[in-house]
Symmetry: C2
Subunit: 213 residues, 2 copies
């Protein structure tokens, strides 16, 4: 029925940017189907290249998955930034700082709902704090989701809303709450609830974080 992704029989022997093409293909597969749908051979097919060519750029299927996962984190960052610009500062530092943190949460949840496959892929692979801010995980704005939460929390401290003593590692708490909600929405018990219900739960969760941080 529909043409496959440009087999486009390239004319040169070299591909030019095979690594990039493979990651892009991986992202497309992950979009519908999540991390399990990322299959190495299919990625090479879409890139118009033989299966083994992938091994010049990735050690493993898992290495490809890692790269795709990092890219998905970047998309998450993009969605958060989009929400941030949708809620520009008003001049009231307290309200603005609060809004900034909310925007981060809203963007995060929005991404989970709009792109469940990519969201799942972003977290399908073990990670740790040292890699939390590598540039591969950054969005077009150059910042990673982790940095974006951190910045919002810093604003809260600057505005005097959050006591400095509670700032340390507060990322973990805020992130955990929002991340958990994201997961529950896409394949936990909240799945299938209507949008209004989810919006409402999101708002309440953000209230909880604001109040409880």
């Amino acid at each position: 029925m529909s043409e496959q992704r440009e087999p486009a029989a390239r004319t040169t022997y070299r591909h030019g940017d095979l690594r990039g093409a493979l990651v892009e293909a991986g992202v497309e597969m992950a979009r519908e189907g999540g991390p399990r749908a990322i299959v190495l051979r299919e990625a090479t097919r879409r890139a118009g290249v033989s299966p083994n060519a992938a091994y010049r750029h990735f050690e493993d299927r898992l290495a490809l998955l890692h790269a795709v996962s990092d890219a998905c984190l970047g998309f998450t960052a993009d969605r958060i930034e989009q929400e941030l610009t949708a809620h520009p500062p008003t001049g009231d530092p307290v309200a603005d700082a609060r809004m900034q943190l909310r925007a981060v949460g809203l963007g995060y949840i929005a991404f989970a709902r709009e792109e469940p496959g990519l969201f799942r892929t972003a977290f399908s692979v073990p990670d740790d704090l040292r890699r939390a801010n590598v540039p591969e995980k950054a969005g077009r704005g150059g910042r990673t989701p982790f940095e974006l939460v951190g910045a919002a929390l810093d604003s809260l401290v600057d505005a005097g809303v959050l006591p400095a003593a509670r700032r340390e590692n507060a990322e973990f708490l805020a992130w955990a709450a929002v991340h958990g909600l994201g997961m529950l929405v896409i394949d936990g018990p909240l799945r299938g609830l209507d949008d209004r219900m989810i919006d409402h739960s999101t708002a309440r969760l953000l209230d909880m974080v604001e109040r409880g941080l």
Copy 2:
């Protein structure tokens, strides 16, 4: 090197409880390796049966995964109940209700840390609210994790700590926070932090929930 799980060449043609054996084998594979490590053929091998025999009990590999996932939810419930009995009521209804909710959270996080493979498996498969309390997801105590959070929240209302108006769907908020932390601990940025650090984050998260609910 090590003997495989009892090939135990059975003498009868019928297995007796193949379905159960397959789920058990699946759990064992999930324990080390998570959901991806659940492979149908290997499960039949461990059960001492031909690969196709599995199809008399499960439509699919995915159906097996579902069954294993449900079992993992049951183990989660068990771990929570264990934490509940480790913190028996003292007589003060307010403190007891608070402790009950904390125990649920502590058990949940403890399970994630002790059995990351099973924890991941429990949530590796789409679910929804209607199936949240099916008996397959219950632990030995007969209650599902979802019911256990709910009961804790009810206690908070009874003790007058949580306004009844905020009770509805509060499961989602509490669950989201704790679930998110669990995920971050096993393969998110909190991974690899030392135990004391994680304990501390857990305590702070539970404070946040208590304060913010």
